[in-house]
């Protein structure tokens, strides 16, 4: 019955060469589960780095004077903070970590389409990350022109740091493209026979949409950064006005990537929430088909709205108008998703555990951030608040309140799958409470600051804004403290947490239909055919969720 082909034997053949146990995680493993966890841990490390930098920012801003660090250091810190958080934490974790771990299970495959490419993609990240951070020490100065690296500023700041920044982002972008090629092939081509596209769990669709965005937009960023590095190294004049260049072209090309990038950061999170909510509400995902269409709608609209970051850059009026309308319409497909999630919860049997709390926190925060996003999309409104703390507030509500909250929810939800042990619920709820309060304390006042005249990317500000900034800094401190229960929980549980069993949530998706942690080949026998990943409330035999999970 089992006529193994050479390809199938590969993992076993490799095994003598591969280290066993925890050392696997430091090797060039081609197992998608190992790679997924590598992404997760590596990303979390960089989250702490980015958070430390955020702490430095909030410490500087606790007083109106520029007194904590030199002004150019402040610019380096905020540039590194933005770059690390986006390219080394959010993107690798919501895409790389969960994508690699879950997608093969969901499509019923033993591994990704290109396991070796997958490992290469991961191993591009740590060097890129360390390169980025070490630029401060090695090149004498890190990049100072913000994560947007607008020329001509980026042509005049210390060149070495900027070039290292470009190199690092190119590596990370390449890693992201390799990952996306892999996800597209896996979702479209590796499905187990009998499994139809419209039976896939929502996360597969989210990753398909995200990967399309990556493939279509990331190369443009690579291209524009190559041109920028020419300007810095070879003194060409693409973006140098004194040599006849045009800086707005840079902005167009940069945002052609970086707007889709925000959906690259949030679509996978949408997918993860769509997996978590039905399990803990014990109800099918509401409106599966419209959810799929809305993902594709967001992908399409996401590609044609980039210039809303450039409303004050002297773009022609018709362009501003077009981008206002196109951007606003993203509210429609996004809204569909949110209403469907609410409908999923409605009438369910909701377990208010940590995974659920973080998911619901995500809904609240994201709706808030989305609504401020819609206000920003209106040209006349944006003219006043562009480049102010209102924008900083908007996007932290989405990237932190949205995506990071989902990452935490996912951690509580899938940790038993990763390790076979349940995270402690009390610590989890404490973590949620601290994070939720700290987060809102930190970023809510920033909207008010922006409206009243505090620009972003400044180390010093008008003393009338002191109080609100201090509130914000206290919030940041609370967020820093909130990582403690999480760290303790993750580390202690790994060694002495409560055994979870294979399927503690009694979930229906394929990754739960195997042991926890899963065997190398994912399932001992054939891959199960899961045609109803959300078939809650419909089956005959009663099978209870474990009591721990039912709290």
């Amino acid at each position: 019955m089992t006529v193994a082909t050479p390809r199938d034997l590969e993992p076993q053949l490799q095994q003598p060469l591969q280290p066993k146990g925890w050392l696997r995680y430091f090797s060039f493993s081609v197992d998608h589960k190992v790679i997924g966890l590598q992404y997760l841990v590596c990303g979390f490390f960089f989250y702490l780095v980015g958070g430390l930098l955020a702490g430095a920012i909030r410490t500087e801003l606790a007083t109106p004077l520029s007194d904590f660090m030199p002004r150019d250091t402040y610019n380096e810190v905020l540039t590194l903070h933005g770059t690390v958080m986006i390219f080394l934490w959010i993107v690798p974790v919501v895409n790389g970590a969960f994508g690699n771990y879950l997608i093969p299970f969901y499509v019923g495959a033993r591994d990704m389409a290109f396991p070796r490419l997958n490992a290469v993609a991961f191993w591009m990240i740590p060097p890129a990350g360390f390169l980025l951070i070490s630029s401060y020490f090695l090149a004498g100065a890190a990049a100072q022109s913000g994560w947007t690296a607008y020329p001509p500023l980026s042509l005049t700041t210390p060149a070495a740091g900027q070039v290292v920044w470009i190199l690092s982002v190119l590596l990370l972008g390449g890693s992201s493209i390799f990952g996306a090629v892999n996800f597209i092939a896996t979702v479209l081509k590796m499905r187990r026979p009998g499994l139809k596209m419209m039976q896939l769990p929502m996360y597969c669709w989210a990753m398909l949409g995200t990967s399309l965005l990556v493939v279509l937009s990331t190369p443009v960023l690579a291209g524009v950064l190559i041109l920028l590095s020419f300007d810095i190294i070879a003194h060409t004049g693409f973006f140098n006005p004194t040599l006849g260049g045009n800086v707005v072209v840079y902005q167009h090309l940069f945002w052609f990537y970086s707007h889709p990038a925000v959906y690259i950061m949030v679509l996978p999170a949408f997918g993860l929430v769509s997996e978590i909510l039905p399990v803990h509400a014990r109800k099918p995902l509401f409106g599966y088909t419209t959810m799929v269409y809305s993902i594709m709608g967001i992908v399409f609209l996401g590609l044609i709205v980039w210039a809303h970051h450039m409303f004050t850059s002297g773009t022609p009026p018709w362009m501003r108008l077009f981008f206002t309308i196109a951007t606003s319409f993203i509210a429609v497909p996004t809204g569909i998703k949110f209403f469907n999630w609410l409908a999923t919860l409605w009438g369910g049997k909701i377990a208010l555990n940590s995974a659920m709390l973080f998911s619901c926190g995500f809904i609240l925060n994201f709706v808030f951030g989305g609504i401020t996003g819609i206000t920003l999309a209106q040209v006349p409104f944006d003219i006043h608040v562009h480049d102010t703390y209102y924008v900083v507030g908007h996007f932290h509500y989405i990237v932190y309140g949205g995506t990071v909250f989902v990452i935490f929810a996912s951690l509580y939800h899938w940790y038993p799958k990763f390790t076979g042990r349940l995270l402690n619920e009390d610590l989890g709820r404490l973590h949620f409470l601290l994070t939720f309060i700290g987060f809102n304390l930190c970023f809510l006042p920033q909207h008010w600051l922006g409206l009243n005249g505090m620009p972003r990317r400044v180390a010093e500000y008008d003393p009338t804004f002191t109080t609100l900034n201090q509130v914000s800094s206290v919030g940041a401190l609370l967020m820093a403290i909130s990582t403690l229960p999480l760290l303790v929980n993750v580390v202690v549980t790994a060694f002495q947490g409560k055994r979870a069993g294979d399927n503690p949530w009694n979930a229906l998706t394929a990754e739960w239909l195997t042991s926890s942690p899963p065997p190398v080949e994912n399932w001992k026998g054939e891959a199960p055919l899961v045609t109803e990943p959300y078939g809650y409330g419909r089956a005959q035999e009663p099978k209870a969720p474990t009591l721990e999970a039912a709290r």
Binding site: Q144, L153, P284, V367, I383, G453
Partner: protein, 296 residues
């Protein structure tokens, strides 16, 4: 039967009441809570009316969704030890249509409204036609954009905000009606204002109340942005791309003028003041600062 109908009616009434009170709350919050600094230009009240509308709609949506979410969490919470699943509801087409249509309508309304606001602020005024070359345009109204840019290619204006459509406020208070041109040079890390008519150069912007001002902006090194929060106006100043920004001040006082685009280490310190004078005070200021006629 009658019981069921009564329940239905009660549900309908509750829904209607809830929606109404939500709308009212949103409206009250949006119109009463003021998060903005004082308004000091003809733009500002226009802007603020948009803000009120957005704030109202935003409050309604956010409150509504929060209430539904929290209600669900409380009402549908699983009891200790309960093992059953919820009902297997997979979707509902009419509902899907409703919550596609409502945001679409809201968005269309907001979009059209904010277009109107933008037009009233002067954002849609074609700049190459009238803004920078008022005198020309008045002399020869037939001048086309092409003709003009051929005449003086270096004078091409790249973007910005033109003179606002008369909102009434401006026309009554601007006695002279003529536009006051000011040349603005942005550099690391200061704005320099030059008054071509009076040949004054200043580090602060002084403008008279009620007279339309046209800032003709240039940047020397990197991108800067000129922002006066109380005017609700901001414009990037991009090297190589002359830009205009028009406004009419409506409230005397001193306001900050802030550089809003990261331009280097001292970006945070790149700020100055806009002083809005009563018309007479402005004349005095002009007299005092007019350069002494050079003795030739």
């Amino acid at each position: 039967m009658r019981m069921a109908r009564a329940v239905k009616i009660r549900a309908a009434i509750t829904t209607a009441l809830a929606t109404a009170s939500l709308g009212l709350t949103g409206f009250l919050v949006g119109t009463r809570v003021n998060l903005l600094p004082v308004d000091a230009s003809t733009n500002a009240p226009t802007y603020d009316s948009l803000f009120k509308v957005l704030f109202s709609i935003g409050t309604m949506l956010f409150l509504g969704i929060s209430i539904v979410l929290i209600y669900s969490l409380v009402r549908f919470r699983r009891n200790e030890g309960e093992l059953a699943d919820g009902p297997p509801l997979e979707g509902n087409l009419p509902l899907e249509i409703v919550w596609t249509a409502i945001p679409a309508v809201v968005i269309l309304f907001v979009g059209i409204y904010s277009y109107d606001i933008y037009d009233r602020m002067g954002g849609m005024t074609p700049l190459d036609h009238g803004a920078l070359h008022h005198q020309h345009a008045m002399d020869t109204p037939s001048h086309t954009m092409e003709a003009k840019s051929m005449e003086m290619p270096s004078e091409r204006v790249w973007g910005g905000i033109g003179p606002a459509i008369d909102t009434g406020v401006a026309s009554t208070s601007s006695a002279s009606g003529a536009v006051l041109p000011v040349e603005v040079t942005a550099m690391q890390f200061a704005f320099i204002f030059h008054y071509p008519e009076a040949d004054i150069t200043s580090g602060e912007l002084h403008v008279p109340l009620g007279q339309p001002v046209e800032l003709r902006m240039k940047a020397l090194d990197v991108i800067h942005a000129f922002w006066v929060p109380q005017f609700r106006l901001k414009q990037d100043v991009i090297p190589g791309q002359p830009t205009v920004l028009s406004f009419t001040a409506t409230r005397p006082g001193t306001y900050p003028a802030i550089c809003a685009e990261l331009c280097g280490p001292y970006h945070g310190g790149m700020r100055t003041s806009v002083v809005v004078h009563e018309v007479d005070d402005y004349q005095t200021w002009l007299q005092q600062n007019r350069p002494a006629p050079s003795s030739t």
